[in-house]
Amino acid sequence: MTALIEIERLTKRFGAFTAVDDVTFSVAKGEVVGFLGPNGAGKSTTMRMLAGFVTPTAGTARICGDDVVDKPVAARRHLGFLPEGAPTYPEMSVTGFLEFCARARGFRGSELADRVAHAMQLTQLEGVRLQPVETLSKGFKRRVGLAAALSHDPPVLVLDEPTDGLDPNQKHEVRNLIRAMAPEKAIVISTHILEEVGAVCTRAVVIARGRVVADTTPAELAARGPSMDAVFRALTLPREAA
């Protein structure tokens, strides 16, 4: 198995505060890594460093062998990234927005149209294709962001809370979508919904206060205690409080 995502001793400090502290892991093709942790643990910062949005203080990250700091554009070409909150341009139509993202990734002409149509089909957006994004519900906006991350069929997907704000049916659809894509890709999803990890992930990486505190399979994680919730609390709360 070749590792498509390699993170080595990645560290990010904001002033005196260390958001991500010496994080190391890699993700191979076919793996779906659930990136778990309480709010503020450093999940989003790690993902942003992977996407080249935040510059690491120390350490390196590579996507398909391309360093995110030295070869940012090449690294991002392999990557489908869904930022936290799935930001979109409110005044653009769904099609317009997806076309913009696909065009920025170098697609033109009929291939561009095919990519956008395929991404809309995967995320069931055909019904709202001409609506301005700002008129859509939260669940639709999230799927627009997801469609933008998928449109170029990237080998690496980094999705920051892909199911946040979706109703149970939509969550089910997105999980099915992730499972269907999994064999061909390396996927990292962040979440704080623990059941999701058991449902879609092949591996769970738990992060607390910027450090990796567990890196194992969801089944093994669940077996460590009476419930997944209890294990999560034991791992992520400071010792004295647990």
């Binding site: 510059t55 936290e84 653009m92």
Partner: protein, 243 residues
Amino acid sequence: MGGVVTVFRRELASYFATPVATVFIVIFLVLSGALTFTLGNFFARGQADLGPFFTFVPWLFLFLVPALTMRLWAEERRLGTIELLLTLPIAQWEAVVGKFLAAWMFCTIALSLTFPLVITVNVLGTPDNGVILSGYLGCVMVAGAFLAVGAAISAMTKNQVIAFVLAVAACFFLTAAGSPVVSEFLSQRVPQMAEVARAVSITDRLAGFSRGVISARDIVFFASFIGFFLFANTVAVDQRKAD
């Protein structure tokens, strides 16, 4: 270069998808027309040229251009789309240049919609249309310089009001530096500064253009001025994108 074109197209379309375009263009046209005919004494001068119009354009741009640039980066930050834009496989300078060119094109469109003034002077007399064209070129250059400054300031702050106020101050400095009030004051008290003020004065250079003189010095000045601030903009975006 593909990234520049992609960002340019999206940005330009977004001006026209929101009321920004309508409000900006209508206010610009009303004010430029009104000032030319009232304060500029367009009829009483009895000259078939657009001299008064060209003197007012920098003063209008002084307020209107910062209104365009204040949202350029600050809005991306507020919506979080900066994270999306800068994680697409385009270089940061491409995003900076694409945004700048779209805003510049938008100002050029607004300027070109003042064409009824050109028709008016051509009906009333026989103006030198080459001089008018050169005046318009000067106005486009001034717009570019103001946009470059404003965009760089917008990249440095999250707050749109701060971006607007600082950009107005910077543009005011560039506009007023060549005015008799400033140059007399400076040459009497700090003669060294008077040189600097004259050198950065945009009004002096625009006056050259509106007399029909397109000098290489002025073109080089505007090109290097815009280039410098686009570079500063790229650095600012890189440093402060995730704040």
